[in-house]
Amino acid sequence: MSRTILDIKDFSMVFGGLRAVDHANMHIDEGEIVALIGPNGAGKTTLFNCVTGVYTPSEGDISVVSPLGKSVRTNGLKPNRITELGLARTFQNIRLFSSMTALENVMIGRHPKLHAGIFGAIFRDSKTRREEEAVIEDSLNILKKLGLEKYANDSASSLPYGAQRLLEIARAMATEPQLLLLDEPAAGMNPQETRELDDTIKRIRDDEGITILLIEHDMSLVMSLSERIYVLDYGKMIASGTPEEVKSNPAVIKAYLGE
């Protein structure tokens, strides 16, 4: 059995009396592609935000297991610490560094893997110089993997919408995560782009060995990609299992179709 990367136990998030997520449990194993679905406002993004440290969970435990098998409880850790533990994410409403070029966006993703400090930057010793050369090289490679190299020197905000979504993925990949959290990666893409995205995500998992958790509304993409699915409704985890199991789960059908 493969190693569990992310373990969420009995987790709740309360915003001023409103239970956005209520006693949810979830676990992700290495090498999986897992989807988190649910109607709008079900608490999916809130769960993402708690896992990545944007919010601190109200109750429960979230732990991340490092490749060496050490488990770290992440409740209350800052987002940058969680990124260093090997979690990286994209945002539902695109949050690129808009004044920078596409390449620079990816270079920033390399931040946790680099070491140069202020003095290194100023004196630019040979180590720093090598590091800088490698950053450009590595970042370009990541752009190439996602077919974005033609945009390398373009301002991130001037990219087409689909490319911006891909650039977010590229930027997250640059942090060399073990688990990549994608928040509605296909939102706003046309069917052609969505099909390509399907391939891209599979490639990321297969070639890079990155485990993937995604929130998505496009059911055909979810069904084709994911090996397991969790369903959130009104903050409660109402179902989980393989795509087939979830599809036939009466609670899920009820949640999606109403009564």
């Binding site: 690129l96 931040h111 800088e132 950053v135 390398a152 930027r171």
Partner: protein, 401 residues
């Protein structure tokens, strides 16, 4: 034709509105002691004509801004300049000429001109320092003059109590500037935008008030006088010291440009800019905001600390009155005018802010009004500044173009 008429009508209405608006302040002048009222009706005419014309131009400019015309034009224009400027031969000849002029300058002009240009260069360094905080870190700092004061008083007090010379004070001023940057940085870590602006303003004022009130230690409002000018092995004549200070300022400007360029191009600089663009995304990329903010404040304050020492050495007299909020605002004006985040922009901005009033004394009374207008117009029509930041391009395959 119809369009012209409707435009004229719009301008006419604006003009009338401004006549009403400025009527009491511009037309009437009362003297309650002599019980006289002066009516300055001519002013109303100027307002009418001015408002009519300016509102016409204003609407035109707004329209063009809507269409984004200016952007296309300016980038085409910039393309040409960039091509021109990246010509190797031009770079070499241009830079060497510039270097020659910079070196010969103090020997070619009257020495008070050297003093004035030194003041401008000091402002350039202040602008570059504040630019780290605002342009790269994206943190609106309204108390920057406090770091300037810290530097000046470092030298002033070190001289007063221990008789230490300029060259000892200079690194000390830089370090104490950075330390104060950290001191201010800590409490404001959680604050954003507007809250940050007001708290930095508050800090700036507190430091000035302390300098004013702790008169046993700082000599209070009386200030510290007779601070020696920097010595070059031996005490220099006035002319000599002025020239010397000029070269010190030039050296500091070069150092600042060098350091900032290097930072811009590094992991640290990228982290600061990422924080400016989007704090949440930056954190998600593993950037420690606490560290990034403290770095920003310290790196920005270092320069003000150093220039403060130079100021004390140049004027030989310092008092708290030189480090008011207005001073912070003027540095901000220089940065915004020239181009936030752009090194050549900030240099130009600092020169404009210091040299225009110096060489157009007749306009002295209109100086602040003009700066105000410049801030508003620039914010609306050219927020990126006169010389905007040009982002670096990389050749695909590694290295720079």
């Amino acid at each position: 034709m119809n369009r012209l008429l409707s435009e004229a009508k719009k301008s006419l209405i604006t003009s009338l509105w401004f006549m009403v608006l400025t009527f009491p302040l511009l037309v009437i002048k009362v003297n309650t002691r002599d019980n006289t009222v002066v009516w300055r009706w001519m002013n109303l005419l100027w307002v009418a004509i001015g408002a009519f014309g300016l509102s016409w131009i204003w609407r035109r400019m707004l329209e063009r801004r809507e269409k984004g015309n200016t952007r296309i034009q300016s980038s085409a224009w910039r393309e040409k300049v960039t091509v021109f400027a990246s010509n190797r031969k031009f770079q070499i000849s241009g830079l060497s000429t510039l270097a020659l002029v910079v070196v010969l300058f103090p020997f070619l002009v009257k020495f008070y001109q050297v003093g004035i240009v030194t003041s401008a260069l000091m402002f350039v360094i202040l602008g570059l320092g504040l630019n780290i905080v605002i342009g790269y870190g994206g943190l609106l700092h309204l108390g920057y003059a406090a770091f300037y004061a810290v530097g000046a008083y470092s030298y002033g007090l070190m001289y007063l109590y221990w008789g230490l010379p300029f060259w000892v004070a200079l690194p000390f001023g830089a370090v104490s500037g950075a330390l104060f940057g950290l001191v201010i940085g800590f409490p404001v870590l959680r604050l954003r935008g507007d809250y940050l602006a007001i708290v930095t303003l508050a800090f700036g004022e507190i430091i000035r008030l302390l300098l004013e009130n702790l008169s046993g230690f700082t000599k209070g409002p009386e200030g510290i006088a007779q601070i020696p000018r920097p010595a070059f092995f031996t005490k220099l004549s006035l002319q000599g010291a002025t020239t010397y200070l000029y070269f010190i300022a030039i050296a500091l400007v070069l150092l600042a440009i060098f350091v900032i360029k290097r930072l811009e191009d590094s992991r640290v600089g990228r982290a600061l800019e990422a924080m400016r663009d989007d704090e949440i995304a930056a954190q998600a990329m593993g950037i420690d905001l606490t560290k990034a903010k403290l770095t920003t404040f310290a790196l920005g304050a270092v320069w003000a600390g150093m220039v403060g020492v130079v100021l004390a050495g140049k004027t030989t007299y310092i008092n708290p009155g030189s480090f008011t909020l207005m001073e912070s605002v003027m540095i901000l004006v220089a940065v915004v005018l020239g181009g936030t985040g752009s090194i050549p922009g900030v240099i130009l901005g600092a020169f404009l802010v210091t040299l225009i009033p110096e060489y157009f004394r007749a306009l002295a009374d209109y100086r602040m009004l003009m700066f105000g207008v410049a801030l508003v117009v620039m914010s609306i029509f050219r927020p990126q500044g006169i010389i905007p930041r040009v982002r670096k391009r990389y050749t695909v395959g590694g290295g720079k173009e």
